[in-house]
Every structure is written in C-alpha cells, then in structure tokens.
Amino acid sequence: MKKIEAIIRPERLEKVKSSLEKSGFVAMTVTEVKGRGEQKGIKLQFRGRTMEVDLLPKIKIEVVVKNDEVDKAVGIIADASRTGKCGDGKIFVIPVEMVVRVRTGEVEL
C-alpha cells in the first residue's frame, strides 16, 4: 500500500475528486493547507512597489492505494490539477506499513 499526498490548487479539487472517482478511487482525506514552492508564492507589482503573498491557500488530498495502482492514481491527479502555470502543486508517494479498518478491526498489510 502507498499513500499519495497531493498538494493542489483549491479550485481544482472538484475536478480531481470526480476524475479519481471515475476510476474507482473513492476514499480520500482532504485538508485546507497553505504553502509555497520554489517561487516563494506570488509577487504582485503595483506602480513601483512590490507585494509578496508568500503562502498561498492549497488543498492537500491524501489517498491510499494498492502498489500496482499508484501510477494510475498519480496520473489522474496530475492531469486533473495541471494548468501549466507555477503553483500547480506537488505529489508525494509514501509507503504505508499497515491499514486498520476502525469499525471491524480488520488489518491490511
């Protein structure tokens, strides 16, 4: 099992969610977060003065999938959240040691 942690643009959440759902990835956890990348946020130019907005609102999606489904799920998230501009986000894939279903106590390794 792997956990996919995707930091995306908030306005792309609906598209990512529905694209994942179409391919059978229904379960997910979504968090509102703030972050910045290499560009240190956005610089706004106003008649001579500059204003920095260094932490921009983002959405973090966490999805846990089977090892052989990682590429597919990552591809879906990347395609659905891409605008081609700075600020599209990042996707991290992390190994998962164990999954416990709380209701039944069922353990999956």
């Binding site: 306005e11 609906e14 956005i42 706004l44 204003m51 907005v53 921009l56």
Partner: protein
C-alpha cells in the same frame, strides 16, 4: 411649515435607509469566496461615501434643481446653495429632504457592485462609480422625482423601483458584459463562503426597507403606515414564493429564501404608496417566482452578473413598475390601475420603466467601455487569483 412629527420620522427613516448600504455589502459579502470578502463589503462602504460627497456637491442639484427640458436638473442647488433648514414645499426641512434622497442614491451604486465582485480594480470603481451616479442615476432621479418628463407623463414610482432598482439592475447587466466573467466561472466551485453573513445582510435590508418605502410618504401619516404594511407583506410573499419555486428543483435554500425577500421588497417599492395589502401579496409572490426564473436564465446563458442584481433588482423593478399600473387603487394613493379599468396608468408605467431600462443599460455600457479602455476595469490575473482582499486592500477577512 415644518411639522415636527413628519421631520422626526424622516430623520429616523433616513438613518434606516443608510443601514441598508452596509447591508448590501454583507448580503453580497457572504456570497463571494472568502479571499474577496473584505473587498466586496468595502465596495458598499465606498459607494456610500463616494455618493455622499457627490450628492452634496453636485448630485442633488442635478436631480432636484430647476428642470432643464425634462431631462436633468439645473445647477441652482450646487454645493447645497439655498438648501436650508426651512421647509419650502414639504413639511420637513429642505436639507432633510436632501439627505433622505442621498441615501437612495448611495445604495443604488452599492447594488450594482454585484456585477464587478471578485475582479474589479478599486481605482476604476471610484471613477466608474462617480461617472455612473452623475450621468445615470442623477438624470433618472430627475425624470421621476425631480419634475422631469417621466413625472409629467404620469409614471408612478413611489420609492424608487425605477430610479433605484431598474437603474442598478440593468446597469449591472451592462457592466457585467464589459468586465467579463471571473476566471474559472462555470468551471470552478464558487460557492458562497458565509451564508449567515448573507442572511444578516438580508435582515438589515428588510429592516431598512421600512425607512425606504414608508419614509417615501415624506410624512408620518396613514400613507406611510400603508407603505410599511405592504412592504412587509410583499417581502413575506416573495420569501415564500422563491422558497417554494426552488423547492420544486431541489432543496429550499436559505439563499433563495432571502433572495425572494429582496425580490418582493424591490417589486413593492414603486407600488408601496398606491396599493393595498392584498395586492401586495400578489406583487411579492409573483416577484419571487419571476426573479428566480430570471436568475436561472442568467445562469443558463453563462453570464457572470455575479450576484444577480439584474435578476432581482432589474427584473423585480420592471415587474414592480408594471404591477403598480395593474394594482394601483384610488382609495390608497389617488391613482387607479388596470384592475380598476384604467389602462392609461398601465401604459405610463410601461413607458417609464422601458425608458429607464434603455437609458440605464445603454449609457452604462458606454461608460463601462470608456473606463475599461482608458484605465481598465479589471485587476491582473494574479491579483484576481490571490483575491481582492490582499491585492486591493492588503487585508484578509479571516486571519
């Protein structure tokens, strides 16, 4: 001769109407995304302050100065010259009449911010707002209330259905066409960020509207009391009819509920001094349904007149003007409408409303294109993306 009862009531009514403008700000503010909340509420305060100054210096004179060809007032009251503490025509001081009219002019500019939210450049709004209130609002107020051609024709507008609502609604439509859609409109989720804020704004509007309509009797008398009652009744009917109309298509949303209240209030505005309470039920209920349909039409056309000033104030205002021609009762305000067999009143109402629609839409379209061409109406794509709160005000609604 000054009447102290009348003066006391109009002083209070003016303050009631003043509160409606920040009310519009909260009503709109809750409906936008949180990164634009400060900006939208601030636009209403700015509209209020801007028109307050313009009206004292120039606007009052253009609207209520001596008539020039039925189109606009002369400059005799420039800087409120000769507008003093005495009563000349009415039973209230001239300067009180002036400020009562000021709060109407101010809220009208605030209503049309519906068309520009989440994307307008603040400096351009100042310029467009000043041009708009001077070139669109002031002449319209003169036509209807300042002794212009519409009043001569006999078109009735008790409290501003034409001057305030048709003008702001159809001007909002024109501005929306020029400024264009918000980035991501129709693709991204743009749901309201704070519905209780919108409900609070609607409450202030409903409350203030008693000053708006009952104050427009310009006296503390039976006509004011009738206007008060029909205002509340129409608002209630509009609330319920929009709620039920939207229930058929899904859940009865609270946003629809208060939109219906405003639709009912808009529609009763021109009629408040001319119709009885039973007619106001019909006026309000029909307003709730047609404004709801107008909103659906707007959404279907993919038009980003963002907060529906056109659907609610524009279409509601047109219906109110026509409804006045249908339901006016001689026993209330001395004029009879269609249901009492008088077609002339109905025709005058249609002409008055139609002329206001054409004037407001056309002139606003030209003004908006002009401002857009010279200084640009919109902020940059990046400023829009981070939100107008940060980019225009350097603030956040929620830290």
């Amino acid at each position: 001769m000054i009447d102290s009862g009348d003066t006391a009531w109009i002083l209070a009514a003016t303050a009631l109407v003043m509160l409606m403008t920040p009310g519009v700000g909260l009503f709109y503010g809750g409906m936008v995304r949180k990164k634009h909340a400060v900006s939208v509420i601030a636009l209403s305060f700015i509209a209020f302050a801007l028109v307050s100054i313009q009206w004292v210096i120039l606007g009052y004179s253009l609207s209520f100065g001596s008539d020039i060809s039925g189109f606009i007032g002369g400059l005799d009251f420039l800087g409120l010259k000769g507008v003093g503490m005495e009563a000349t025509d009415l039973t209230i001081p001239d300067i009180l009449f002036m400020i009562f009219q000021l709060v109407f002019a101010a809220i009208t500019l605030a209503i049309l911010t519906s068309a520009v939210v989440e994307r307008v450049k603040l400096s351009s709004f100042f310029i467009l707002g000043l041009l708009w209130t001077t070139i669109v609002y002031d002449p319209l107020a003169h036509w209807v209330w300042g002794g212009g051609w519409s009043a001569e024709l006999g078109a009735l507008d008790f409290a501003g259905g034409t001057v305030v609502h048709i003008s702001s609604g159809f001007s909002a439509l024109a501005i929306a066409l020029v400024i264009g859609k918000r980035i991501g409109f129709g693709e991204e989720n743009m749901e309201p960020h704070n519905i209780p804020m919108t409900l609070l704004g609607a409450a202030l509007l409903w409350f203030g509207w008693f000053g708006f309509n009952a104050g427009s009797a310009l006296a503390a008398d039976g006509l004011a009391a009738n206007a008060f009652v029909v205002t509340n009744t129409a608002a209630a009917a509009g609330t319920l009819s929009w709620l039920f109309a939207s229930w058929i298509n899904g859940k009865p949303s609270s946003l629809g509920m208060v939109s219906g209240a405003v639709a009912g209030l808009v529609a009763i505005t021109p009629a408040a001094g001319f119709v009885d309470p039973l007619s106001s039920i019909v006026i309000g209920a029909v307003a709730g349904v047609i404004c709801y349909k107008a909103m659906l039409f707007r959404v279907k056309k993919g038009l980003d007149e963002s907060l529906d000033a056109w659907a609610i104030h524009g279409i509601g205002g047109v219906w109110g003007a026509i409804a006045t021609g249908i339901f006016a009762s001689g026993a209330i305000g001395g004029y009879s409408g269609l249901i009492y067999g008088n077609i002339d009143q109905f025709i005058a109402q249609v002409i008055g409303a139609g002329a206001a629609v054409v004037y407001a839409f056309t002139v606003t379209l030209i003004l908006a294109k002009l401002v857009d061409a010279v200084i640009g109406l919109r902020v940059s794509e990046e400023e829009e993306y981070v939100g107008l709160d940060i980019s225009q005000h350097g603030e956040k609604a929620y830290a």
